[in-house]
């Protein structure tokens, strides 16, 4: 009888200990995930790429001005041209104020999007948009830094297309993540965000 009682106490103590450890782990995870703030601070980071003029650049070259960072590829039939057109229209509307912004279009398809190809493609949009390419490793590192998902999807004829995150990351002049612009957000929302970013009044 006594032995059974001791065993019950032991099992009970183990259970209590397990529950405590679980609660501590859960609380720690919960605190770490503080409403996305911790994760937001992680968006962005160092990169070493080549711009569409063929010049080697790093993230540090774009400090000092707020920066919009958008990932895409030139064989993208819808999301990329639509987004770049929307940015082009917004920049046009901002006029010279838009010179105080960096706009980066980073390819997720460095195999096909050479700096020359990016230059050709971007000639159809606002000249203040910079295209960035690089080695697959450096592109992957930049994607990771900005929490960008991209995946090659083979087509039956042997070619491929890309799935990719369509969100624009908005970074302040110190290179810190401040906001996101979602695909097909109303133009008025984007305009208001750009005005806020540039310290202009309400549009």
């Amino acid at each position: 009888m006594r032995k059974i009682g001791q065993n019950a106490v032991r099992i009970g103590a183990t259970l209590v200990a397990l529950i405590l450890v679980g609660a501590i782990l859960f609380g720690w995870a919960y605190l770490r995930d503080d409403g996305g703030l911790a994760r937001a601070a992680e968006i962005g980071g160092p990169f070493a790429l080549v711009d569409h003029h063929g010049k080697s650049v790093t993230d540090r070259d774009y400090l000092g001005k707020p920066t919009l960072v958008f990932f895409g590829f030139t064989n993208c039939p819808n999301v990329c041209p639509s987004t770049l057109l929307e940015i082009t229209n917004q920049l046009e509307e901002l006029g010279p104020d838009a010179d105080r912004l960096n706009i980066l279009f980073i390819t997720v398809d460095p195999e096909r999007d050479t700096p020359q190809q990016l230059a050709l493609y971007l000639s159809s949009f606002d000249p203040r948009i910079t295209g960035l390419s690089g080695t697959p490793e450096n592109i992957f590192a930049a994607m990771k830094a900005y929490h960008i998902y991209a995946k090659k999807v083979p087509l039956k004829d042997g070619g491929y297309t890309m799935d990719h995150t369509a969100t624009i990351a908005v970074m302040n002049s110190k290179g810190q993540y401040v906001d996101a612009m979602h695909y097909q957000a109303p133009s008025a929302t984007t305009r208001a965000k750009l005005h806020r970013l540039l310290g202009l009044g309400n549009p």
Binding site: N75, S82, L85, L122, L155, K156, G159, H164
Partner: protein, 163 residues
């Protein structure tokens, strides 16, 4: 009854203008058996771009299902059927294999954010304002000659061209 020749002239002119307009309006609708295709359009391509989407409305007015199985655009190396989807913030593009079914009485919209035709391997840029001849192939209705209006880069729908 006396007829004012000037009035007659004016009537003839407006009739001519009206019939001209209806020719343009009709030109945006294409038929083969029970399949009706309305307002095919595509987009101008940015420099160096090798892909473009084809968009339209396809209606099956018959009592048998049909299937869009392929087509041709002379400027493109290949013609594919794709579906675009957003999974959260991620854009996904999938090839639709085996064709796109159009059920009896069904009206299927081909648009940039859903099912659409995909032209790949473009041999030349597509220019806004141009009209491109192409062909669609259906399982039952067979081949249909259509014309795509080329809208601007990133356009979200066809413009109303009434003149």
């Amino acid at each position: 009854m006396y007829i004012n020749t000037f009035r007659l002239y004016r009537f003839a002119m407006s009739a001519a203008i009206l019939s001209n307009m209806s020719v343009v309006a009709l030109a945006q609708q294409f038929k083969a058996n029970s399949i009706v295709i309305e307002q095919p359009w595509t987009r101008a391509t940015p420099g160096g771009a090798k892909v473009a989407g084809g968009y339209m409305t396809i209606t099956n007015t018959g009592s048998e299902p049909d299937r869009l199985i392929g087509g041709v655009l002379p400027q493109a190396g290949r013609f594919e059927l794709h579906e675009m989807k957003m999974d959260g913030n991620v854009m996904q593009m999938r090839e639709v294999l085996g064709g796109l079914e159009i059920k009896p009485g069904q009206k299927v919209q081909l648009n940039p954010s859903g099912y659409h035709v995909m032209f790949t391997g473009l041999r030349e840029p597509l220019k806004q304002g141009d009209t491109l001849k192409g062909q669609l192939r259906f399982e039952k209705a067979g081949s249909v000659d259509i014309e795509y209006r080329v809208e601007g880069i990133g356009a979200q729908g066809p413009q109303q061209h009434s003149h």
